[in-house]
Symmetry: C2
């Protein structure tokens, strides 16, 4: 079985770990969001790709959900002593090595997809991890605060400002001119189904869908998604701040309608949102299930439900 | 009093620490050798500049003589896990931060002299530390081994091969086209004396002297040097392998004759080489003194003797 999973960070990574546990023999291609990527201290950091790689490769810091386990922060301490910015984005020593290797390869001319493959030679995540594009797409957020109205890098809004300043607009700079990375369209084409994990529908899955050709290719397949919203709140992260920015209500129903029946065939909502399944969403098959990913076992159950619905809708 | 000290790594740094202790009010400009600089993992490493900066700034690992005190090696361990080369050049986590800051500034367009000044803002070495040139000069060594006759980077010969393969030739690639860094010629011009520490006469002081204009400018001043050779052996390092490569005997006399009376006015040899002082070297005033730098106190005594001789010869 061939599956494609467009994924952001923690939510996507944990869903994928569940999927791997449920169907270990499936060929899973992950299309990773690179809109959150940022250059820090001259090094290229790809938070979402790394979270997927570390989580599936057994190197993630489980408690934080990002960065490496058994991490130390000596390099960061030294950068602070040099008074170089930005220190609001924390990188550990082990993590730095990943960025050093990536930056060196990028500087040598390798595209991000080749670099990611090389990094995965070490981590062996059990999936094929592809960046959505080798071209630079960068999510910027338009905000207005005491410094005036301006666009900041997504990470500055998300990590430094904790998404507390309202986002007026969220723009995937460069997306229009980007091409899917090698293998992305082919993987979608060959897929039995596309599963949308409970990643951020705006800045993770939403950014991936903005790469020209990806939305159309994915829409052509059987697509089942997992709601990242339970009740009226995101399971984790601050997806509500992103949804508000694009005028979408923070609810399982609104996200399904935002993706729309052109894209989605099936949608899993949490039991807390069973009314969405009962009332229905036009053109989308909605099922209610327990959606909290507490551990690999519960993530595997969610992945199984997602896949089962996809296979059911496909036949 | 204004002094200029062309310096390599450990020997130069320890001499400078002694000089600072002896004449804390002197304005000391250090012309640092950059021929040993190397790009590793995409980062720019300047071993000699850093050894001077760390030693005078109180951050050096005293036991090793290079790199940072209280060092850890987590990044290196991770790079090894990614199987990226070269691992024969050891960089610690604290040290990595220096190279990250330097590389970021160089990539942003700052010349090495400005970068070095910025790094020294933290370390406050008590001297003005200038690279010999902002242009890239790289010491290469021609060797012949089982892989054939070839030129390797100085560090590959020195660190990886432990200088055990004979050097057929030592070339400062780029030196002919290099210009002295801003401030270097002015500092020499304004100096009351130039002191040559017991740095490697071939690949440290010798490389500095190959930057066009530097030899002539230094030769125009009162110059007193400290022999890096005691008896028939280098005090530390493998200077003998370098001297052999350029056809100079490993002795205090031969190094003085190699520098020559056009450059040197005075020369300090160790008491073990008192015969050189007794017999004399034509055109050079030679004095015998204890030259082992065991601690800052003995280094200060050596620096004082060097400076005293310079002031004596100048008057």
């Amino acid at each position: 079985m061939r599956l494609v999973v467009p994924a952001g960070g923690i939510g996507g990574a944990r869903f994928l770990r569940g999927l791997r546990a449920d169907v270990p023999d499936a060929e899973v291609t992950v299309i990773g969001n690179t809109g959150d990527d940022i250059s820090l201290f001259g090094l290229r950091v790809c938070p979402d790709l790394d979270t997927v790689m570390y989580t599936l490769g057994g190197g993630i810091a489980e408690d934080r959900g990002w960065g490496r386990a058994d991490e130390t922060f000596t390099v960061r301490e030294e950068l602070a002593a040099y008074e170089v910015a930005p220190l609001w984005f924390t990188l550990g020593d082990r993590d730095f090595a990943t960025h050093i290797v990536r930056s060196q390869m990028l500087a040598a001319g390798y595209p991000l997809s080749a670099v990611t493959e090389a990094l995965c030679d070490r981590w062996r995540p059990g999936v094929r991890l592809l960046p959505m594009s080798d071209d630079r797409v960068e999510t910027h957020v338009v905000i207005e605060d005491e410094q005036g109205r301006r666009a900041v890098h997504f990470q500055e809004w998300w990590v430094r400002l904790h998404a507390e300043v309202p986002a007026e607009q969220i723009i995937a700079v460069g997306a229009e001119e980007a091409s899917p990375a090698p293998g992305v369209l082919e993987a979608i084409e060959a897929a039995d189904a596309v599963l949308l994990p409970p990643s951020n529908p705006v800045v993770s899955v939403g950014t991936i869908l903005q790469v020209p050709g990806l939305r159309e290719a994915i829409a052509g397949k059987t697509v089942v998604g997992v709601s990242p919203i339970i009740g009226d709140a995101p399971v984790r992260g601050m997806a509500d701040a992103c949804l508000t920015a694009i005028g979408v209500e923070t609810s399982a129903r609104a996200v399904a309608e935002h993706y729309g029946p052109e894209l989605l065939d099936g949608w899993l909502v949490d039991d807390a949102d069973a009314a969405v399944a009962t009332d229905g969403v036009p053109g989308i098959e909605v099922r209610a299930r327990p959606l909290y990913m507490r551990d690999t076992e519960s993530a595997a159950a969610i992945a199984k439900a997602t896949l089962d619905l996809a296979l059911e809708l496909r036949s």
